[in-house]
Subunit: 372 residues, 4 copies
């Protein structure tokens, strides 16, 4: 990878975002009916390569069940409102009504309420009762603390998630989470991230995780770039993680799923992310637009409620279509916001590819094309 | 062509859009009167290298006749409103009055009406009665079904058109259209596309088509990029197709016309597309601005009415000038929206070129110039 | 100069606009008082390297005199309103009141009035009577026709100007202007352009012109790019013309002035154009903002009145300062719109350069810097 | 460093701005508590690598004291309003109420009032009385004139500051300031700038300055680029200055602080500037948003009051948080405008770096990532 000198003695790679690329049709086309977009995470099979992000505005126990029934996976934030409050819906409604900077202060207050382990148990059991696969997220800081609770409740899939999660956390005081031993000792599959480079992804893969979340600062509601200056263009981050996946597969025989997170707002973004190497996509904002979404017209991620350094203003979203229309269609909106899986299927068909792993080889062009 | 590594093991070409280039004057100028912009499609000669796109908002039987009389070619969508309804004008008026997302649902309803073969016949005959060259478009899916009808009606030129059309369509079930045998068996010249790469264009040329439509996701009303993630910057796509045309000419002695579609809104865009290798330009939105346009103030392409995955919101357009002023002038607007052929002639004259094939050699510069 | 392949068999240079560059301070600074910004055109010396463009909204006989007294040169359009009407001020006022597309039709009507040779004579004599240097512009098409008139009236400097002017105009019919013999036979110095490449500039220099206008499609009020697709990023065009100037100087011993036109709206643009190789700058829009400007709140160039293919809508400008404040200050506006010569002097001083020819060597950096 | 030919015989470097880069997380993370962001300027230690810029809208004697108590350094403009008027607050309030171009004329009038040496003395003593470190700025033009006054008043740190300051000022008449002898003869540490290249920074370091201000034309309120055409993308300027710091350290054993100025509006910008090589950041606009800021809702820099060539319109700012919240948090705004030091600490922790000098080695990626 070419390095560009940005100044005396300081070089940088040029990275590319999903908005800077397009997929080039090949000389072959295919019938959409012949395209397979399913994927597998450990022992679980999914019809759609889409994971609902652990945002309180997207995943409630009831939307988790609905999303499962549509063939996708939903991640409940085990450190979010649903495990702090018996009924967070009125609070989300209150946040949806707030505008601008005042919202952050109120969000901080609402999230100051302690997490209740009994609610963690109750939420997991509520989702499991429907027959849905249960998936919950924790931060590296609190993963060990809540492990006994979510394991006892029978969680199926764990997501360990932070703005940046590394396989090597250094701390002078306190007991840092040893990801490798923690993951290997758990009896359930673990997905971990975010990360945004070949090395970081490779080291996370070596922890025994079945999936790695790729993407830093790409989310619609994220302020990681402006507040922290940290980030990585997503097309490059995904291709790098896919490279790490190949190396890890060669070294161990294990195929770790690369899950793109952030920056995928429309069907075309999903197709581009997969063409860059993703096996599945975790998304929040596009699902917060569902009529069923608990956000009730607002969307924000876990960072927005940070007590000392909140990151990301709540984004107003129009609740315009059902989860079903958004995920599996048919679409009645012409902007790529609905029938996300149909759009992916159509894109693959028009480019002549039959499966997600084949689509990883799709030809990409740099250049935004027409400007308006 | 240089490949740029966008991440570990994934490379991409850098493509360029028409907005990123300008034509550089040479050291010679010419009189506009001495410039020849005519072109030929099979046995048909045209004064203007402009084809009206098969959008129901642009080409009705009456505008088809008017466009023919001005020296250009008009393509009627044989699967559009004009072959579904006796009189679609009130429906187009209704669509023109709708705003935003509701429009798509209503468009889907209106296009759910079945196509009537007797209307295909009637429309073709209506245009032919004026003495105009008749040109109609079908999708690859329905080309075979309607072939007996449009052939019996005496269609002059057929356009087989989809978002992406390839010479090699793979389908497990059903009977795919074999473009090569279909085109060779038809008694009329066929134009086919879209495509956006050297190989795809070359393979379409080998089907026996007399013209290839080049451009994917470039149209003003297109949402192919956002919904599907597919696209290609048009300057590069045209130059690549022109390269395929040269190779095909060398191999077969046959010069297949390269027809740019999408992204050409003003006179300057037409000039740039031709300087990149196009022989003619298919355009919709600029003609939807004609006072005579059936869109009556709105423009949308065929994808906007897709029943399961609509792509492209109707675009509001101001009907500001006659078809004559738009195509052949004189212009009374100073923004390049009228006298498109005069603008092309003037551009060629100021750069010292006398014919379209000469103008393919015009010098190009990358860089947007002044920013505002 | 590196060529970039934009597609199969089609290459292009990457050009750079003035907005894409900045001047880098050197390790030396200087006192503004020690900076000399004067220049010379044939036998005429000017305090300021600024030429008022032949726009009817900028140069009237009275502003020509005022601009001369401030040390700059003003070009009266000998084919504009001032030679068609005894008093065009009411017409300009009428145009200033028109908005949008209707303006073009009215401008075309107003300019349909024939040019009156006796007014050419009167305008030149009126300016000369003040003691000012007289400078007038004609198009290549009409240069020969009006030559006896403006020569008899005692014009000092002639500008032959078109969107693109070449040294080799090809015409099947009619008698094209032979620039070389025309210029050599005239007894007064001639400036000619526009052009935008090394070869085109060099060939214009060889006609015997004392100055060459460099810039195509760069003006604020220009629509050359959108209507014709023709243009060239100005920093590159100026550097190329400066290279042609060096070669011509080597070949002939004659230093032909390179005059940048278009794209220089503020003081910083002038400095950057000179750092790229310009000896002087022709400008319209910034001077149309003078309280004395005949445009009375509107600005448009000669192309806007073209009878068949008008190019460029009238731009509304706020008349905010006197010609004196704009050209020589002191400035009471903080945006670079006034004291253009003071800004140039300050820029040269802060970079340590003492004359315009020295400033041609200033270091340039590509990159826009902060985005907002 | 690669040079790009922008035209015949004229080359330029490609520079990069802070907005064009992001910091890439490494494969290691760290606890924020273990991150040290302190720095040292000569004998003075500071908890925060932040210097308040000498803008009258930011630093008054009372905010200087408050900023010192929060661990940062504040620079009082010794040639600003606080040394011209006993009480400038009503005048700043008046400016805050002015809109648009009229503001500049009134600012010029207000700053026409002469500087009063006795006020220089009084301001320094007022700040010193609180126990705060006193830091004042002068221009190179007036440094010598006011030196006896500020030295007698016991100033701790001097900043010599102009749009561009060089180590080699050439002047035909008058007595130019010899920076080298002036700085070496002063008994207090001197910071000097701006500059924006390796050579210019190196030569300033050789004057004996303890810190060099890096950045030209980057400030939010700056119009240096538009008025003068001068500037340099800040990421490149900082990396170049850091290279000069290394060379100077090798040659002399002295580590001169590189202080980035301009273009750092949010926490992420500070992190990026330090990752490019800065030791500390001088900032104005973000601090002008403090409730305590003397600007009372407006911000402008020293250039805005220039009597002949003012540069930079006053920027309206919302006073939204206390100096404490802005500098050290906790933050109640989610956009990176508050808890600037906490954001820096978090960025360093997430990338696994423990000190500012370590963070100079952080990996950088070019590319803006997601577009919206």
């Amino acid at each position: 990878m070419a390095e560009i000198e940005i100044g005396s003695g300081k070089s940088a790679r040029r990275g590319f975002g999903l908005d800077e690329i397009s997929i080039v049709p090949s000389r072959r086309t295919r019938d959409p009916e012949d395209v397979n977009i399913s994927w597998r995470l450990d022992a679980f099979d999914f019809d759609l390569p889409i994971i609902a992000a652990p945002a309180d505005t997207v995943v409630s126990p009831s939307t988790a069940i609905a999303i499962d029934q549509l063939g996708a996976l939903a991640t409940l934030n085990l450190e979010g409102l649903w495990t702090r409050y018996e009924d967070p819906m009125p609070l989300l409604k209150e946040i949806a009504a707030l505008k601008g900077i005042g919202a952050t202060k109120r969000i901080q207050e609402i999230y100051a309420e302690p997490i209740k382990p009994e609610l963690i148990t109750a939420r997991i059991e509520q989702i499991a009762a429907s027959g849905a696969i249960t998936c919950g997220s924790v931060t590296p800081q609190h993963a060990a603390r809540y492990a006994p609770t979510f394991m006892a409740a029978g969680l199926n899939v764990l997501v360990i998630m932070g703005t940046v999660v590394s396989a090597e956390h250094v701390a002078k005081g306190g007991e840092p989470l040893n990801l490798k031993s923690f993951i290997r000792e758990l009896d359930i599959p673990v997905v971990v991230g975010g990360c945004a480079s070949f090395q970081a992804a490779l080291h996370l893969m070596r922890t025994g995780a079945v999936g790695v979340l790729v993407g830093v600062g790409e989310g619609v509601s994220s302020a990681t770039r402006s507040v922290l200056g940290i980030g990585a263009p997503q097309a490059t981050a995904l291709a790098d993680a896919a490279g790490a996946r190949s190396q890890h597969l060669e070294e161990t025989g294990v195929y770790v799923q690369v899950i793109g997170q952030g920056g995928t707002r429309r069907g075309g973004d999903i197709a581009k992310a997969i063409a860059c190497g993703a096996d599945a996509i975790m998304m929040g904002a596009p699902l917060a637009r569902a009529i069923e979404a608990p956000g009730q017209g607002v969307h924000f991620g876990p960072d927005a409620s940070n007590q000392s350094l909140p990151r990301g203003l709540p984004v107003v979203v129009e609740q315009h279509a059902s989860l079903e229309e958004i995920l599996t269609g048919p679409a009645h909106f012409a902007d790529g916001s609905t029938d996300l899986s149909g759009a992916l299927r159509a894109a693959m068909a028009l480019c002549g590819y039959a499966s997600i792993r084949e689509f990883h080889k799709a030809e990409i062009v740099l250049g935004s094309g027409r400007s308006s």
